[in-house]
Subunit: 344 residues, 2 copies
DNA sequence: CGAGGTCGGTTTATCGATACAACAGCCGGA
DNA sequence: TCCGGCTGTTGTATCGATAAACCGACCTCG
C-alpha cells in the first residue's frame, strides 16, 4: 500500500480511504490512486485488514455431512445468499456428533469467523451458548430446548403429522415410521431435547393415535441412504406387512423405495411412502416421492437475517423463527390407478 | 499473549513457541504456559498469525454447484481429507461459468488462500495460469488443453467407451448419448479444449463406431436432474425409439430414468441406461443405475498430494494424474429376466 | 584448552492496514 | 481582519503473533 501511495503521490491513509470508502476522497486523488492500484496490480492484504478491523468477513457453516442432499442443497443456498452480503462461507463437517459440533464451534472462534451457522444435532442450546461465548451463532434445523440462542426451525411436528395424516387419509392402517426413536421415548426431551427426528416422530405419532384403527411401528436404522435401503428390505420381508411408510427424511425415504423394490413390493400399489425435506431428488425418483417441503427459501432468509442482526448487535434478544411447510403429493402416495400429470 | 506470558512468568515468544511447537520448550515452563492459557481462556489470533506467517491455512474449493451430488460428494471427501492435513476448506460456487471461475481464482488471491482446488469447466490452463499468478492451483475433473497446470483427471474417454460398449454388448443398437455436444463437433477442442462432456462423448462415439450396425444420436439438454427428466421424456416420445441410453453424468442418468418412467417405458426391459460418476444415489435408484466409477479416493489423494507439493515448491514441474475407472453393472443394464442380488 | 555446538530462553523488528487525532486550506459571517 | 466550521489529507500508534538474532550456560571434541 505504501508503494501505491508513493506512485499516486499521496499517503497510505488516503489509499486506504479510497479502497475502503470509509472517508470521502476528492475525485482527482481518487482517480490517481485507482490508477496506481491498477498499474501496480495491488491487492489489499486481508490478513492485515482482519487483524486491524477485528472482523474477517467469513462465516462458518457446520453441517453433519456435506454429502447428504439436504445439507448440500442447504449449503449451496446459503453460500450463494451470504455471498450477496459480502460474506464468505467455510464449510465444516461435524459428522453429526457432539464432539464434531463442539469442535466446529471452537474452530470458529479460533479462526475468528464473524459468525457460525450451526446445523446442530448433538448440541443443545446450553452447550452452544457456553461454547460460543461471544461468537454470533444461528442454530438451524431443529428446535432447541432453551430459548437462549438464535434459531431457525421448521415445522417438524406439524409437517410430520400432515405426512402421516396423508397416508391415513389414503387408507393406510399399518404404518412404519422410519427414522423414529422408540415410540415410548418420544416425550423425554432426550439428551438435549428436540432433535428433528424426535419431533417429526412425535408428529407422526399424533396422527396415528388420532385414528383408532391405525397402528405403527418405529424404526431407526440410521440416517444414510443405505440405511433406508436396508430398512425398506426388512419391512418388505417382515412377518406382518405394512401398507404405509413415513420416512422422516427424504434420504431415508428414497432408500426405502429402493429397499421395497429389492423385495418386489411396488409403490404405491402395495405400499405408500412419504418423505420429509423436499430434496431435489424426491421429484425425480421412481416413483416420485411425496414429501413435506419446509420453506427452504424462507429459512435461508431467516438465517441470514438473524445472523446479520446478531453480528451487528451481540446483545440482541435471541429470536426463534419457524418456516412454513407444504405437503407435496406425488406418485408415491397416489392410490393405484390414479395417474398424474408428469413433472410434479 | 502478553497477558499469558505475564501470568506464566515468561516472555511472549516462549508462549508462542509452546503453542506453535516451533521450538522446544522445557517441560516445566511448557506446563506453566499451558496452565496460564487454560486459566485465561486464551486463544491465538489467527489474523495476526496469518499476517506474520504469510500463510492462512485455508484452501479454496471452487465447484460449479454445491447442490449437485457429484460435486457435493467430492466436496465432502476433500473437506475431510484436507482437515487431516490441518487445512480448512472454503467452498466457492462458480455456476459453471468462465466468469464465475475467474472470480473464484481472483477471490482466492484476494483472500490469500494458500491454495485452490478448481473444478474447471470454462477456464483453460492458459487462463488459469494467467489468473492464478503465484497461487497454487490444482485443476480437477477434466483434461486441460495445456500441460501448464497441476491437474487431476479421470478416464473420461475410456470410461465412456466402456459404458457405451456395455450397452452394445447387451444388444443395443440405437443409442442416445445424453449430455453430448453435437456429434460432428467433438473433435474440435472447443473453446478451451477438453471439457468432460466432450471427452466422454468422444469415448461413447468410438464405441458406437466400432459396431457397424449401431447408430447413436447426441442430446445436450443441460446438466441438471430436471434436464435429464425432460430428455428422458423426449426420448420416450420420439418417433424413432432408442434401445439404450448413455448418460454422461449420473445426475442426467437418474433424470432420464424418471423421464422414461413418465412415458411408461421400463428400464431395463424396454431401454437400457448407463451413467457416469458413481454418485451415491446411483446405487439406490429404481432401477439401480449401472455407471462408470472413477476412482474417487485415488483422485482425492492425488489432489491433496499435488496441492501440498505445489504449496511447498511453487516452481515444481506441473503434473497430471489420471484416476482409474471401474464399470459397475447394476439393474439398469441387466437384460430383462436376469435378476440380481439385492444391494449392488 | 579453545573452537564450535546445543539448549532454553529473551529482545526487537517486522508483517500490512487502519483508527484517530491533528492539520492545512478555504469559505462565509461578524 | 479574524474566527468557527467544513473538507480533504497526513503522521503515527496500534492490532497480535512471530522470525531472526542474540545471550548465557553448559557440553564436546580435536
Amino acid at each position: 500500500m505504501r508503494d501505491v501511495a508513493a506512485a499516486a503521490g499521496v499517503s497510505t491513509m488516503t489509499v486506504s480511504n479510497v479502497l475502503s470508502g470509509r472517508r470521502p476522497v476528492s475525485e482527482e486523488t481518487r482517480a490517481a490512486v485507482l490508477g496506481a492500484v491498477e498499474r501496480l496490480g495491488y491487492q489489499v492484504n486481508v490478513a492485515a485488514r482482519s487483524l486491524r478491523r477485528g472482523r474477517t468477513g467469513v462465516v462458518g457453516l457446520a453441517v453433519p455431512a456435506l454429502d447428504s442432499p439436504y445439507f448440500s442443497q442447504l449449503a449451496g443456498r446459503l453460500v450463494e445468499r451470504l455471498a450477496r452480503e459480502g460474506l464468505r462461507v467455510v464449510v465444516e463437517q461435524t459428522g453429526a456428533s457432539r464432539e464434531g459440533e463442539a469442535a466446529a464451534v471452537r474452530d470458529s472462534r479460533v479462526n475468528a469467523y464473524d459468525g457460525l451457522v450451526l446445523s446442530a444435532v448433538g448440541l443443545g442450546a446450553g452447550d452452544v451458548r457456553a461454547l460460543a461465548g461471544d461468537l454470533p451463532v444461528v442454530a438451524l434445523g431443529e428446535r432447541q430446548d432453551l430459548r437462549r440462542v438464535d434459531h431457525v426451525g421448521m415445522a417438524n411436528v406439524e409437517g410430520a403429522r400432515a405426512a402421516a395424516g396423508l397416508l391415513l387419509e389414503r387408507g393406510c392402517r399399518r404404518l412404519a415410521v422410519v427414522g423414529s426413536p422408540p415410540w415410548d421415548r418420544l416425550d423425554e426431551p432426550g439428551d438435549h431435547g428436540g432433535d428433528a427426528f424426535r419431533l417429526r416422530a412425535l408428529g407422526a405419532r399424533e396422527a396415528v393415535r388420532a385414528v383408532p384403527a391405525a397402528s405403527a411401528r418405529a424404526l431407526a436404522p440410521g440416517t444414510l441412504l443405505e440405511d433406508g435401503v436396508r430398512c425398506g428390505r426388512e419391512l418388505a420381508l417382515a412377518a406382518d406387512p405394512v401398507d404405509g411408510v413415513v420416512a422422516l427424511t427424504d434420504t431415508l425415504a428414497l432408500g426405502v423405495l429402493r429397499g421395497l423394490a429389492d423385495a418386489g413390493l411396488r409403490v404405491p400399489d402395495d405400499v405408500l411412502v412419504v418423505g420429509f425435506d423436499d430434496v431435489r431428488e424426491a421429484s425425480a425418483s421412481v416413483p416420485s416421492l411425496s414429501t413435506v417441503s419446509p420453506g427452504h427459501d424462507e429459512m435461508v432468509e431467516a438465517v441470514v437475517r438473524l445472523l446479520l442482526r446478531r453480528m451487528a448487535d451481540p446483545a440482541a434478544e435471541p429470536e426463534e423463527v419457524f418456516g412454513p411447510f407444504v405437503l407435496l403429493e406425488r406418485e408415491s402416495t397416489r392410490p393405484a390407478g390414479r395417474s398424474l400429470a408428469p413433472g410434479r
